[in-house]
Each structure stands twice: as structure tokens, then as C-alpha cells.
Symmetry: C5
Subunit: 361 residues, 5 copies
């Protein structure tokens, strides 16, 4: 019976210690919780690629570890695991040293065999990596969908510029279309991000009155597309070409709603939560398994293990909402620039190459 | 021969105990089985994302563990595994303590080596995670397909509004088309869910007589598309534009049947069942392997292991039928709102931008 | 030298025993080999989904284990592995008991260390699960391709019904097109399945003479599409609409040949065979590794391990040819029903909504 | 110091033995190296599927092991690993037996602990299986792309046959188009395979002069498409239908260049080579790790392990260039047959169904 | 307390040694860091495939190991791990030999148990292999996108050649279009690579003045497409055909921006960095775990383990920016050649087949 009592009291103590630790730490933990600003918002250049591939990247990775958003985000839970490890190691150490002041009724060392934990390691690793991959797929789809908005805008600009005649009326229609295409990209950005102000973004391309109308509309990107749709249907272009422009508008509608879909639907919460709970339970068990293998080295080891696994989970969460991670300003800016540069070179090209323009048949 | 007899009787006892346990528990188990209501039916906002990424999410995950549908669903099988573990642990404990009243003929402790079980752990983890991923892929396809219905509806509304003339007849056709587009989204939702009532959903947009006709039709979403098809073909629009509208109708047909396909075809049952049986056999073996490693700690460990693995399987089952998990009401509502807001702003835009409208050529 | 001789004779005996066992069992094995009839051929309803998710599914999985096609298919190889385990266990048991009649020259117990086998477990598990996933991808593509046939047929019916005029000639063309669309779905099913009779399937929709012509054609689904193609090109519809119908016909051609491609090209045989041989070699080694860990418990353990792994392989083979697993009859039936119901409601809708029909421009 | 010297000399001897073995074996190895002819070039029928699923497949897999191309390809490296294992086992065996003639200065047995090797097993298995999957994806894409050539050819034949009038000129154009469509499929096959002769393949469908022209052109499939393009643009068909035909020609161009892309770009060589080197280093280490676990049984075990892993790599290499594995002749043949059968039944169908043909509008 | 002091001083020494080693090595390491030139820039021929599959490939892989870019790239970090291993081994060896000059206060041997490290091996392997797969997916998408540019250029050339009349004006338009199509492919290459000079690449196809205009434009590939757009809209072709050409231009725009997207957006840096840091921490721990298993053999083993894992990471980095790895020059060259050969054979084909050309309707 002594053995049972010993085991039971060991369990009780294990839980009591854990609960107290959790209580104290969670209050400290919540003291200040903020989402770190992410800084991955520029587009890669050739120089960046050269650095990215350079052999010095390993040293760079070590040097930047303190500035990393992921590392800062997970530093608290990692420290909690390390603290728990230290408590467990101290307790177990006392049993080896057996100082005279140690009460005799204390249960045996806090250790759990590692083998049962190992049984779940594969499932945990797979879940974590697959979840991160699902987030990465969302990130990539978001990049493609927002890219579809800016690319299709350029394509529509190209069509409008080469099809509309260079009469006064045609020139005005070209200008209006270009302005609204730029406004579409920018209002999509505002729609998908929390921090932007619509008036500030589109103020330079739209008229004051248009901005007000746009601002008061229900779904702003859709309003821009509706305006474009009306511009094209009343442009006097032949129906074939109107249809061709309309196909591009349909692409824009699909791209805008693909972005909205990604923003509005996270990976099913039960999936995310189960993975996180699995990871937390697993990380909570780890400190109790390491003492027989590593002694005091278990503290850095537990910190390391929790660092790498929590890091994978953090990246998964981080990429799940991709619009705050993507360089949307840059994409909108280069789209606007490209449309304006096409507008500028339009007259020159049309004079040289296609002086005659579209011929009514 | 004694050894054989011992081994055989151990096996026999193992099976008898297991059968009795199963018998008793399965009757208790089936006492009340209900599908838990899932509550993941709203769309994510910026605030939700901020919470989702916050460092306090770990504490939130612990606090909400009791409200989680997945946890409630798997609580029974987890408790069964824990109870089995407790029985095994008690039996094995008796052999260590050897109380005088223990009959001598009882077989040796109930333990099986862990190594043979470990051989199958990788295959089990892979199967579970891949199956969950297949369910997640279904969920994502369902989200995209239903999204295609609402997005294409908006796109058709845009086309109709900018192409039809603002004559009385044209305005009426615009109204009718918008009404039937909203009815399509709502009747698709009713088609894909069990709990909705068609009359209640579309009563506000369709006339009484139309609702009756729709209700009595074989396939309701298809009926709506057929009506739209007739509206467009008799709208007097040029053929090019009729074809362009028809392409969007084809997209609607494909999206509706993609949803129906997902609802009608689960992941092949042999796949699902084999995974579940594999998991059940594996979880049944686990309690017999843990005693030498963990002693009484095997009870929480077995509960933990079964919790994480059954949870993965439960999520796979949960996401396999995605329409009861997706926020279809919200999607339909925002689609209807968008179409109505486009209808409202149509006159204003067409007056300002495209006063002339489509010109007959 | 004694050790070498011992090892060599152990090896020799191991192989001799294995060969004899294989010889005897393979003749028994081939006594009656039949492909079990698969019964997964209906479409899921809401009730099925409720059962599918119910907590009582675990008990259901146990109860139906005897009716499962997969279990019946793999019962023989599982029994062979179990029998081999029993032989090995008996042999090894004799060495523990050492009965006096045991000849002294018998080699040492038949055991192989488990560690070398474990080195290949990950590769085996990955191969098995990936191969099953490849089969699942084929199954899903088949479902989508056949679904494309039935969905596009409905879409063509919708187009024809709303575009052709309600004159006598137009009505006749509508009827003919609907009949051939139904015939297309049914002859595709006959084309992709072994067991159906064309005449019986399409006898109710086509005329006697048409059936004969269809039956004698080289590729029957293609013949139906060719007929439809001629119907549309001579329908007198404007070219824009003919082209629009033709795009749907192109989709039908692609869907029919996607199905034919899946049926005609299995996963490369070298892949399938290497996986199967790997699994067989691995399962053959397992019984020799389990004795030191499990004693007589190795017999159920070996049966269990072979059950789960052979089951995964069997499901992979089972899903590789998906058309005998999919509910093609149901799909064809609901397609035919939908087309007929659309045909019925056509007059009513066209009278109410689009009284004027297409206007020649 | 003795220990160091012992360890160092063990290492030295290990490397010397390995080098000598490699030297001798590589010369033997290169004695005759040929790519085995692959025989997987027919299309599956219902009978094949029945056999494929039959329970007797396991026995069939054993019986055909000697005829398998993969097995023959990897037999040499497997034998090398087995020979190396035998040498190591013999050396280690001598240390157990300690014959009197054994020189005293020989280092300790050639063994390396298995644990460090196991650390890399997961990465190796994942790399191998993922690489094989990448090859399988190439194979599938090749199958789909070549299938797109033959399917789109049939679709173009269908369009041409139902659109061109049955005048003398129209009939001639139909014949020419059909001939060039067949020539396209065949010249694509010649383009993608090494062994075929163009003149022999297309001699039966094209005129002598046309064959010469085709033979001397830069890119033969593209030449065929160019000819078809000219035929259609001068066919006198309405522009809508010319555009519809041209969309199919665009599909053909894309399919031809997709095939060319697969043929011209292997999986990045660094990926392939690193995987192969990883595997070779791993297999070289294995024989040194097995002695403590398996004694002389390590020879068959090492052969088995190298067989399964080299087999996976071999299949990856084998499927990477898919055109020599696919049944291209069969696909071309059935495409030609289908086009010819459509040509034959064209008159009959057009007389019965669409007597009027396309009406000029 | 002695034990604690011992463990702590062991830890301190471990860290001090590691820091010093890192300090010294990182300065040596950064002495000269250059990106190795990659040489995988040709297209595969039948001969290459034969060699690729030949059984002599294993020997070839060994022979080329010194020329491999990946091997040269990772040689430094591998050597660092090997050097660290040697230091650890030497230190541990001293404790076994216990030379008299060894100070007594030195802590115990530098070893950490392997089991805690093994817990993270699966997650590390999965992360590495998945990251490499994500890079491979980027590589494949880049290949397809650039392929879409060259393929669509050929397709446009085909359309232009078969649709424009063979009048003087038509011939000139054909020539101009072909020239700008070639310029598009080449300026896309210049846009996506760092090392090329635009003037040198397109100097042979464009006029001096055109080159200057192209060079000064904002986005050069887009400028080419804009010019093509104007050429087509003023070509006098019927609107249907202009639309058909425009669809191909839209494809070009999408392909160009898909390439730009891949170049501008690497895999999220947090993902890449976390994987690299995980790998570095893991590889740093490995040398401390190997001594009890392998003694001095740990030096080559640690080198081998770091070689294979760093190699996987290096390939992931290498394929992440695919345009410097793909044979873009070859693709542009064969595209230009194909367009020119089509231009040459155009007159001949059009005379023989389609003498009449497009007929105005």
C-alpha cells in the first residue's frame, strides 16, 4: 500500500505544483500581451536574394534572433517551460542531495517515463507541420488573389488604352478608367487591412465627391468594379470588346471575394485549438521526463524543445491571416505606377504603331 | 508447460476483462448519444484575428477546453480508455502489493511490450493526419464552392445592372433578376442544410406564388438558375452579352453541383472505418503497455494519449461534412445585402458615369 | 565455429520452415479467390451524416467489422501471418520448456532483432499512406470527372431549353437533345463499368434504331456527343449561342476522356508492386522479432499489425479503380430526373418569365 | 592512449576495407550497365483490374519478382551492400571465434552504434518518398498533357465534322483536317520518344510530299498545328466558329509544350543527387551497425533494407521521364481510330439529325 | 551539492567552449563568402535521360561530389560541426585516459543524452523536407510561368500568321508582331535575372529606336505587351479575332506577373529562419550526444549527419529563387527560333493549304 500512497501523493504534488506554477505565471504572463509588429513587408530584390543564399546567412540568423518577431512572441511560453523545468530539476536534485532539512513525507522525484510521451511525438509533429503548411497555403493563395487584383487591373488598363479612340471623349474615359482601377487596388487594401484610412489612400486619385460616395458604399471594392462596369458598358465599344473587358471584371470580382474569403474564414478553430492544446499538454509533460536523461541540462533542453515547437505553431498562426504579412502597399504602389506609366506611353505607342486604331466594321 | 498455461490464462483473462468492460461501458455509452451543436458559424473580423494571434491565446485555449465541441464529443471514449487503464493499473498494482486475499491462480500482470505497438505508431499517425487533411480539403472546397455561388451571383447582378437599360421594362427585369439571385443563394443553403425552412428563407424576396413553384420543384437551386436563364434569354440583350451572362450561369450550375457532390459523397467509408478501427485497436492496447514505464501515472497518460488522437479523428469526422460548420447564413446574408446595395447605387452611378448605356450597333 | 554453424543452421531452418509454410498456405490460399462485392454505392443523406458523426460510431465500427469488404479481403493474408507467428511462437516456446523428446541438433530460437526492421518502418508507412493517398486522389478525380459529365449535361439542357423557341420544331429539338444527354450519361456509365448492358440502360430514352446505331459505334459516349454536336449546329441558333453550347460539349469530351484515362492507366505498376513486396517482406520478418518482447502475445499482435497495414494497402488497391466504387447509377438517375424535370417546368417558366424568348437581332 | 590508437586504427581499417571493396566492386559493377526495357506499355482493361484486385496478387507479386525491371535494375547495388555486409560479418565473426592465426594487431570489430544513424532515417525516408512523389506527379502531368493532345484532337475533329458543310470542298477540308490531326498526335509521340521514326508513323496518313515538309520543319508538332490553323482560317467558317476552333488549337499548343517542358526539365539535379548520395552514405553505414543486433542474419537484412530503399529511389528515377513509360502508341492509335470512326459516321448522323447544317445568318 | 556544482560547471564550460569556438570559427567562416555559380542551365536530351537512369549513376554521384555546388556551399558549416565534434571527442577522450597533467577541477565529460534530442528529430525532418518541397513548388511554378510566356508567344505568332492577309501591309504587321514577341521573351528574362543586359539581348530583333524606348520604360515586359496590344487593335482584323488575340495577351500579362510575384516574394522569412535556427541548434547539440555511442567515430558521423541535413536546407534555399537555376536563355532561344521558323514556313503553308485566307463576312 505504501507504493500506492507514494504514487498517489506524487501525482497530487505534481498537480498541485503545476497548478500553483500556472496560477502565478499566467497572471505574470497576461501582464502585457501585445501582437508584435511584423516587418516582412517589402518586396525582394536581387540583392536580397544574394544575401538570402549567402553562406553568411547562418551567422545572420544567429545575430537577428533577438529582433525576430516569432522569437519575441514565443519568449514567454518558452520561459514558462524553462521555469517549470527548473522547478522540477531543483525538486529532483534535492532528492539526490537529501539535505537534512528535507521533510521525510515528500514524495519521490517528479519523473514520468519518456516512452509514453514519444508515442505521440509523431502525431504532434505531423499536426504542427501540416497546420503550418495549411497556413502557408493560405498565405500563398492570398498573395495570388491580391496579385490577381493588381495584375488584372493592369490588363484592363492595357485593353482600355489600346481600344478606346484618342478622341477627347475617349481620352477622358481612359483617364476615368485608370483612376478607378487604381482606386480599386487601394480600396481593396483598405478593405483587407485594419490600419489604413480610405480617404488618405484614394484621395490623390479620385475626386472629393467620388471619395465620399465610395466611402459610404457597403462594399468598397465592389463599388469600384460597378463603376468600371458602367464606364465600359457606356463606352461605345463593340459588344465583343465589352464582353472581353467584362471577363476581366469577373476576374476582379472573384479575386476580391477570394481575399475576403481568406480574411473571413480562419482554419477551423477546432483544428487550431486541438493542435495548440496537444502541444501545451505535451510541453507540460516534457520537463517531467528529462531528469533521468539529462540532469540539470534539462533546463536548456526543455527551453530548446519548446522553442522549436512553439515556433512552428507561432508561424502557423502568424501566416494564417496573410494580409498583415504581405507587402500590400508596395503591390498597390507598383500597380498604380504601372498604370500611370502605361497611360503616359499610350499616345506615343498608338501614334507609332497603331495610328489607325480600331476600325468599325 | 506452466509457462504456456500462464501465458494462455493471462491472454484469456485479458480478453474476458476487456469484453466485460466493453459490455458494461457500451451500454452506458449509448445511454445518450447526440451530435454536439457546433458554434463556429460566424465570420472572422479584425478583432477576432487580433485575439487569435494574441499571446494570451494559450490561456484562452485552457479556459475554453470545457466548452469545446470536440472535447465534449470525445469525452466518453477518453473516459473509457482511462477507466480501462485504471482497471489494468489496479490489477497490476495488486501483484506488486500481493495482499493475502489474492487468489494464487490469478495470471501474471497484464502487460504487453510497447515495441510491437510502436511499429504501427507511424502508420497510425500518418493515417490520422492525412485523413484529417482530406477532410480539411473538403471543407476548403465547400467554402470555395459556396463562395462561388455568392460571388457569381454578385457578378451577375453587376452585369445585369450595368447592361440593361433604365427603361421601365429594364428596371423590372433588373429587380426580378436580383430577387432570383438572392433566392438562389438562400435555396442553395436550404438544399445543403437539414435544419432550414425554404419558405421562411426566401419568403421575403420572392412572391408567394413563386415560392410555391420553387418549393414544388425537384432541384430548387437548379430551378432558380433555370428561371434566371429564361430571364436573360428574353431580355433583348445582344447575343454576345447573353453568352457572357450564360457563362456565369454555367459557373453557378457547376458550383451548386460541386456542393451537392461534397454533401453526397463522403470520404470512402472503408478509409474512414479502417482508420477508426486501427485507432481503436491501438488505444485498446496502450493501457496494457504503460505499467512498466509509468505505474499509476499511466491513467492520466492513457487519457492524454487517447485525448489527442481521438481528437484528431473527431476533427476529421467533424470537417468531413462542411456545410454544417460553415457560416452559410452569414454568406447568404452578405450576398443579399451586397446585391441590394448594388441595386440601390445603380441609378446614381449610371447617371453620373454611363449616362448613355449600351448602344445598339 | 560452433557459433557460425549455429547461426547458419538457424538461418537454414528459418528459410525451410518459411518455404514449407508458404507452399502449404499458398495452395490453400488460392483455393477460392474472388473480389468481394463492394456495397458503398449510395449517396449520403442528412441522416447518414448524423450517424456518421454520432458518438455511437465506434460501436458501429466494431459491429460491422465482419461485413466489411476490406476486412474480408485481407482476412487470408492476416491469417497466414498469424499462423506463421503461431509456428514461430511454438518453436521458440519449445526451447524455453525443453521437453526431453526435443532433438539436440535443433538450432537456437527463431528470433531476429527488431531494430534493423524498425529502420524501414518509416519508409514503409510513408509509402503505404502516400500510395493510398494517390488512390484517393484518383477516386476524387473520377468523382469530379463523372460529376462533370452529369453537371454539364444539365447545363446544356438548361441552355437548350431557354434558347430554342417554343415552336413545334424547337420543341422537337429540345426533346431530342434531352434524350441524347441522358443517353450520354448512361452510355458513359456502361463504358466505365463491366457489368452493365447498354441496351437495357438507354432502351427507355432512345429509339430502337438509335440504340442499334449507338451500340455499333466505336466509342459510345463520343457518338452521343457527336450527335448532340450535329443537333446544335443545325438548330438555327445564332453562332454565338452555338459556340457557347459547343464549349459545354468540349467540357463533356474532356470529362469523358478524363474518366477513360483513369480507367485505362493505373498507378505505375512498379510503384504498386514495390510497395506490396516491401510490405510482404516486412510482415514476413515481424513474427521473428516479437518473441523476446511479447511471448505468446505475439500471435494476436502480429495479426493486429498485419491487419492494419494490409488494410491500408487493400484500401489503396480498392480505390485505385474508382468507378466500381462510385454510385454511378444514382448519379445517372438523378441527372436524368433533373433533365426531365427541367423539361417539364420549361414551358411554364418561359410563359411566365420570358414570354418573348430570344429575339433575332 | 591504447584506446585512442585502437579506435583510430579501427577507423583506418574500416576506411581501407571500404575503399578496396568499392574499387573492386565498381569495376565489376560497370562491366555492363544497361537500362532495362520497361514493359508497362499497355492500357488497363476490366480483366486487368480484376487481376489487380484479386487476393492472389500477393502470390503473383512473389512470382514476378525476377521479371521486374526495378528489381533487375537495383540487383547490383543490392548485391554490393550484401557483399559488404558479408565482409563485415566475416571480420566480426573472426573476433568472436578468435582463431589462432588471427594477427594480434587487428583492430576491434567493425561496428558503429545504430542510434546516430537512426537520427537521419526519418529525413532519408521523407526525402525518398517525397522525391518519388514528385516523379509520380510528373508522370501524371505527362499522362494528362499527352491525353490533352489526343482528346483535343478528337474534339476538333468533332467540331470540324459538324460545322463544315457536306459540299465537295467541305468534305475535302474535313479529310485534310482529320489527316493532320492524326499526324499531330503521331508526330508528338515521335517528338517525345527516342526510338520512333517519323516517316514510318505518319506515312500512312500524310502524302509523301507533306511528310517531307513535316520532317524538315523545326518543331514538328507545331508545324502540324500551324497547318491546321491555316486550314481553319481559310475554311470560310464564320469568325465565331473560327475562334472556337482556335481556342482548341491554343489548348493543343499548350499541351505540346507542357510535354516538351516535362521532357526537357528534370527534377533539379541537386535534389536528385543529394537524395542519392544521402541514401548511398546511409546504406554504406548500415552493415557496420547490424552485427550486435543480428549476427550473421545481418547479410539478408542488409540486402532487404537496401532492396526496399534503393527500390523507392529507382522508381523515382524511372517515373521521372514518363514518356518512355506511358503507352503513347496505344493512345495515338485509339485517337486515330476514334477520329476515323467519327469521320465515317459523320454523313449518316448529319443526314438523320442535322440535315440542314449551319445556316448563314 | 557537489553534483550540482559539477553539473553547473559542466554547463558553464560547455557554453564557454561553444562560444569561443563560434567566435573563432565565425571570423574564419566569413573570410570569403560567395554564392557558387550554378551550372544546371541546360535542357535535358534523350542522351541525358539515358545517363540519368543508367546504373552507373551511383558511381557518377560519387565522382561528381567535389564539383557539386550544394556540397561546396555547405562544406564550411559541415566542417564546423566536424571540428566541434573533434573538440568534444578530444575532451571526452582525455577523461577516459586521465593523463596526469589534467587539472582536477575540470568538469565531467561533455555529453548530453540523445533521447531529448530525438524528440525533435521528426519535427525537424518534416520542417526541412516540407520547406524544400515548398521551394520545389516555387521552382515548378516558375518553370510553368516562364514556359507560359514562351508558349503563348508562339501561339500568338501562329494566330497572327494564319489570320493576317499576305498583303504588303499584312506582311509588315506579321514581322513587327514576331519581332516584339521575341523581344517580350528576352526582356522578361532580363527582368527576372540580374546579370543580363537588355540592349545586348534584344538588339538583334528590335530597331535601335525601339530598344531605347523599351529600355526607358518602367516595366519592360509590360511595354512589349502594350505594343502588341496596339498592333492587334489596329490590325483591321474582325473584332472576334482581336478578342481571341487579346485573351492570349491577358495570359501573357498573367504569366509575366506570376514570374514577378515569385521573384518578389520569398517563402515567409520567419518560416525560413525558424527552420534554419532549429537546424543549427539541433546540429550544435548532436556532437555532445554521440560520444557514448560511437567514441571517436562520432567525428565522421557528425559530419555525415550535418552534411545530409544542411544539404536539404541548402537545396531549399537554392530552389527558392528559381530564375537563376532555370535555363531561361535556352527557352528564349528556342522560342525565338520557333517563331522565326513559323514565319518562314508561313507563306508556303498558306499557299498550299489556305490560299484564300480569312474571308470578310
Amino acid at each position: 500500500m505504501k507504493c500506492t500512497v507514494g504514487a498517489l501523493s506524487a501525482l497530487r504534488n505534481l498537480f498541485l505544483t503545476a497548478c500553483a506554477t500556472l496560477q502565478i505565471l499566467s497572471s505574470l504572463y497576461l501582464y502585457k500581451c501585445s501582437v508584435p509588429a511584423c516587418a516582412v513587408l517589402q518586396v525582394f530584390t536581387f540583392l536580397d536574394w544574394r544575401r538570402h543564399r549567402s553562406q553568411s546567412r547562418y551567422i545572420h540568423h544567429i545575430q537577428t534572433i533577438r529582433e525576430s518577431g516569432v522569437v519575441r512572441s514565443i519568449s514567454r511560453p518558452v520561459m514558462i517551460v524553462a521555469a517549470l523545468s527548473a522547478v522540477v530539476a531543483m525538486y529532483n536534485h534535492l532528492f539526490v542531495v537529501k539535505p537534512p532539512w528535507l521533510p521525510a513525507w515528500l514524495p519521490s522525484p517528479l519523473t514520468v517515463a519518456m516512452e509514453p510521451i514519444q508515442l505521440t511525438t509523431i502525431a504532434l509533429s505531423l499536426l504542427l507541420v501540416f497546420r503550418t503548411n495549411a497556413s502557408y497555403a493560405r498565405w500563398e493563395e492570398a498573395r495570388k488573389s491580391f496579385g490577381a487584383i493588381t495584375t488584372t487591373s493592369r490588363d484592363i488598363a492595357r485593353q482600355v488604352l489600346s481600344w478606346l479612340p484618342n478622341t477627347n471623349e475617349g481620352r477622358e474615359a481612359k483617364d476615368t478608367a485608370c483612376r478607378w482601377l487604381i482606386a480599386l487596388a487601394k480600396s481593396s487594401m483598405v478593405h483587407l487591412r485594419d490600419e489604413h484610412d480610405l480617404r488618405q489612400e484614394v484621395g490623390s486619385v479620385l475626386l472629393e465627391e467620388e471619395v465620399a460616395r465610395l466611402e459610404s458604399s457597403g462594399n468598397r471594392p465592389m463599388y469600384c468594379i460597378q463603376v468600371l462596369s458602367h464606364i465600359f458598358s457606356s463606352s461605345g465599344l463593340p459588344f465583343n470588346l465589352v464582353v472581353c473587358l467584362d471577363e476581366n471584371l469577373t476576374r476582379l470580382v472573384n479575386a476580391v471575394y477570394a481575399c475576403e474569403r481568406i480574411l473571413g474564414t480562419p482554419i477551423p478553430l477546432s483544428y487550431t485549438r486541438h493542435t495548440a492544446r496537444f502541444l501545451m499538454a505535451w510541453l507540460f509533460c516534457i520537463p517531467f521526463t528529462l531528469w533521468p536523461y539529462s540532469g540539470w541540462a534539462m533546463v536548456p533542453l526543455a527551453a530548446l524543445i519548446s522553442f522549436v515547437l512553439l515556433g512552428i505553431e507561432e508561424i502557423g498562426i502568424f501566416l494564417e491571416e496573410p494580409f498583415s504579412v504581405l507587402a500590400l502597399e508596395h503591390l498597390c504602389g507598383s500597380c498604380a505606377e504601372c498604370i500611370q506609366s502605361m497611360r503616359r506611353s499610350d499616345t506615343e505607342i498608338s501614334e507609332r504603331v497603331g495610328g489607325k486604331g480600331l476600325q468599325v466594321q
